[in-house]
Amino acid sequence: MLTYMDYIQKCFSETSGWNDDMSYEQILRTPNNLLQFKIPSGFQVSVASKNTENSYSSATLRQLNRLNGSVSYFYSSNDMKNAYKGTGTLPLWSVIDDYRFIRSPKQERVLQRRKKAEKKDLGDRNPYLLYGKMYFPSQFLEGMIVKRLSDSTQMTLRFINTPKFRKLTKNCSILTLYLQRQNDHNATDFIYSSTESLLGLRCLYKLGSDFSLSSSPGYTDSTSLSAGFELWFALLSMSPGLSTAVRYSTHISSSGKPLTMTLALNPLLGTIESTYSIKPGLNSTFCSKYTFNIYSYESDFLLGFSLFRCNGYNPPSPQLQSTNKTIADSPDKVSFQTGEIHTENLQPNRSNTIQRNDTKKVGGRSDKYPFNVMDEDQHHQLLTTFMGITPGKLLTENNARHFLDTFNRSQFSSAFKCAASVARKDVKFAWEGRFKDLLLSSGVHIDCNDSIPRVDKCGLEIQYSS
């Protein structure tokens, strides 16, 4: 489950129009979510609230060996009222790490355009987020500054500081700086960390099926192929690091169910990792991972799955229905709607509001002259799509759209996750769910290396925010 800090950061990215997924750092996000999820340890309670429109605060109490806690504060320069929700109302899948739906570059472009239009209304072009946290009684300090430098660049600065405990120990300060640049097709990150002067470079390229605009089919298809690499070098310790990865994400044409495959390679150490993740139903995800080292022949096989409990479905909003009606006459609407839902799947309410805006703006007048209101690009898209439409493609799109539509309307109440490794001989279980207005997250990590399985880690975490 996302921590409050992660959630705030996510909300910030959403409102500021920064794509979290568009980074090499997130290329293995789906398999990592399913196989390397975090297990809380000890007992932890955290209470958070939105103090003003821009500031948030959180307090955490943890019992592990001895009682400790932390207090954190956030300040965001833009208003996150559209994204931020308390634990009582937020959709559960927005805080549970699970399958990530990847947007294709074309969807990205459409989304960006809309974001831009939206941001004009908001006014703040370069928002920033400040975060500070103090641990008690250890008096550790951690802080973060996220600042949008321009439309396509963002700077993140993270730092920690520990006090001097004894005469012989030093106080420890580490600073890590991220400079990120992203656009529809690629993203580049520069990283500098003060420990051993580590320098890093990450690149990600998205190779969508819409590689050329002329190939009209696939506009609505979210299929995307991404490739990237990272380079690291620690100046002081002369330790290099290198890896490269490819990701393929699509929907199964017959059922519209999403699947993601990745292949990652570390040429320096000879490790190959391949993963396969699929969402066979609305309520389940399955993931497998195979790692192999070509030098040592060491291998590992990991399996993980997650199951969701669904309480019911939100009724489709009347606007959505009305737009769905228009789907019949306008294939553009179909594709547009699918794209919309697809890209905004993590925030259905928000996407609904956007849709509402759209229908107000576009659809409202579309009663008279729907086509005339569209801009040139939309004309072009509409025409190309209409020209290149094929029944098979339509079926796939419809399946995918249906799947996502149902997924977004689902009211999940809890999730159960399980992951196991063959070589390490360990099993992890986690249960995350909502009880009244509280978010509960519990888990256990069992180590089966010895003859008697041993509980390595277990815990319960309770979150409340308003």
């Binding site: 520990t162 960390s193 990272e230 330790s239 060491e298």
Partner: protein, 587 residues
């Protein structure tokens, strides 16, 4: 001077295994460095065939509990050790682990969980760059050459301090998996050399010091404990309370032994033990305490030389009887041939008390006994009155000088009275005997010698005595004819009852009627006392055995006397009174 070390001894399989285990434990104790992804395991350990050379250069100080010396140490043998581990070659994985370690190092242990949070927050998120990559590593250390001067300082209180005067390691061969990769091989060689140097300089002396400290303190403690245990087992502590609480004034062998032990325990330097008032706090032993003991025991038992069932089963009856016989014979011998007669002793012991009692008795008896018989109040009065009382006894005792046989007779009768009293059948006879021998009561109490105690040990012979008693009855009935006055008899009986109350009877019914007093010794205490007494008695019998064995040589003369004079004489005179304890054949 130099040592010759039996090097072949440590070549034994068990020792090698032990050394391996110890090394494994030592290597894997503490936190493993991040670069090692697996524990260190000793694969092979070989001590070689060449022994190291030790040479004493100087001994500065040599004492019972301290030692200081300078040694010369030389080794150029063929010992070798092979170990294996796994090295993590994933540098970025180590990078992240180092961040966490760095945080852990610089803070206290109890906030380590925050360190994990903090490091998660700050460390860059590597994708596959930090994957696991372990390289197995074999390291063989061989042809070790060492030479050093060692200073050893040892003292019991401060432990062992060992200092190497110079760098002990001269050279070492390091062979590893990375031999072909020159830089790594060189790095390993350097690293291991410095590490071994450190081992000898810091780790080894430190470990030896800790070990020695543990050993010395432990052994000291154990030494003391074993010392205390020994004391507890062999010499149970004796306290004043323990000295025959029922009859503190009687001189039984048991109480004599206890007194001796008490006296000797004051001379020992024994440590520990229970709190005892007589040693720890001398002013506790006051008159009040003594009085308390006296008051608590209103009956005076003759002896504690018990014969238990166990004795019969183990066949120690004969020994005890023998002991009694010896005592009796000695007393008899002394009475016959010695200068001091027991009679005299008896009178001297309790002169003042006797006088009072005698006076009392005389008052009481004045009506019973003809006035002329009680002529004077000197030392011989009692005996005289005895004689007067016994004058109707067929065996006439003319003078008090013939007291040995008289006393024997008296005591025998007393003993009978003491033991037979509970049976109602003989109570009448007791009254009679009491009437006859009442003068003997204070005497026997005052006497309290080993001889009187011997009568108490004759419990198994009770049948014998019953027979004797019946004889007595007949005799007494004769005497009864002399004074048939019932009122006097009644008066005498009442007096006897009183006497009995204060008389040293170990009978339980009398003990139960013990009046509560301020110095009452409670039940648990009594239990304790009785346990101690039982223990002491076993000791006593042991001691008596020893003494017996010791005296056997010395007492040949006595034995001779016994054989020549003792039994024949006794049997000639009065078999009924003076016969030795019947020969037992229980074993």
């Amino acid at each position: 001077m130099s040592f010759k070390i039996n090097w072949d001894y440590i070549e034994k399989e068990s020792f090698t295994q032990y050394a391996k285990d110890t090394l494994n434990e030592a290597m894997n104790s503490g936190k493993r460095p991040n670069i090692l992804s697996d524990g260190i395991k000793i694969m092979d350990l070989n001590f070689g065939s060449i022994a190291p050379e030790f040479e004493i250069l100087e001994i500065g100080d040599l004492g019972k509990d301290r030692f200081r010396g300078i040694f010369k140490f030389n080794y150029s043998g063929d010992a070798s050790v092979t170990m294996t581990t796994k090295v993590s070659a994933s540098l970025l994985k180590n990078y992240n682990a180092n961040i966490k370690d760095h945080l852990m190092e610089n803070c206290e242990a109890d906030v380590s969980y925050n360190c994990a949070d903090l490091s998660n927050f700050i460390e860059p998120n590597f994708i596959v760059s930090d994957c696991d990559f372990d390289i197995p590593l074999y390291v063989t250390l061989s042809s070790i050459k060492m030479s050093s001067i060692i200073v050893v300082v040892f003292s019991v209180s401060k432990g062992l301090t060992l200092v190497f005067k110079n760098e002990p390691l001269e050279s070492i061969d390091v062979n590893s998996t990375f031999d072909k990769i020159r830089p790594i091989a060189r790095f390993l060689q350097e690293k291991i050399e410095t590490q071994i140097g450190e081992l000898f300089r810091e780790f080894l002396p430190g470990m030896l010091y800790k070990f020695s400290l543990e050993y010395t303190t432990k052994s000291f403690y154990q030494f003391h404990r074993s010392l205390n245990e020994e004391q507890e087992e062999e010499e149970p502590r004796v306290m004043l309370k323990d000295i025959d609480p029922d009859s503190p004034m009687s001189m039984s062998p048991g109480s004599l032994m206890r007194l001796t032990r008490l006296a000797s325990s004051r001379q020992t330097l024994s440590l520990g033990g229970e709190f005892s008032c007589d040693r720890m706090n001398s002013n506790l032993v006051t008159k009040a305490f003594a009085n308390a003991i006296l008051a608590s025991s209103n009956s005076l038992a003759f002896s504690r030389l018990h014969m238990t069932d166990r004795d019969f089963s183990t066949g120690r009856v004969g020994e005890k009887v023998n002991l009694i016989k010896n005592i009796q014979a000695r007393t008899f011998w002394k009475g016959n041939h010695g200068e001091d007669t027991p009679r005299r002793r008896v009178f001297h012991w309790n002169r003042h008390k006797e006088k009072e009692k005698v006076a009392e008795t005389q008052q009481k008896l004045s009506s019973l006994v003809p006035e002329d018989a009680i002529s004077d109040g000197d030392d011989s009065t009692l005996v005289a009155s005895d004689v007067i009382e016994n004058k109707s006894v067929p065996m006439k005792l003319k003078t008090s000088k013939s007291s040995p046989s008289l006393s024997v007779q008296k005591r025998n009768s007393r003993g009978i009275g003491g033991y037979i009293h509970p049976t109602s059948r003989i109570s009448s006879s007791l009254e009679n005997t009491g009437e006859l021998n009442e003068g003997a009561i204070p005497m026997s109490r005052g006497d309290g010698s080993g001889f009187s105690s011997s009568t108490a040990t004759v419990i198994p012979t009770i049948d014998f005595h019953l027979r004797r008693a019946s004889q007595y009855e007949q005799q007494q009935s004769e005497k009864q004819r002399l004074r048939q006055r019932d009122e006097e008899l009644e008066e005498l009986r009442r007096f006897m009852e009183k006497q009995k109350m204060a008389s040293p009877k170990a009978t339980s019914n009398i003990q139960n009627r013990k009046p509560s007093n301020t110095y009452h010794i409670n039940k648990s205490e009594r239990m304790k006392i009785s346990r101690r007494i039982a223990k002491l008695d076993t000791l006593l019998s042991k001691k008596a055995e020893d003494d017996d064995a010791l005296n056997r040589g010395r007492d040949t003369k006595n034995d001779f006397v016994n054989s020549t004079y003792g039994y024949p004489i006794v049997s000639n005179r009065e078999a009924a009174f003076d016969s030795p304890p019947p020969p037992y054949s229980y074993s």
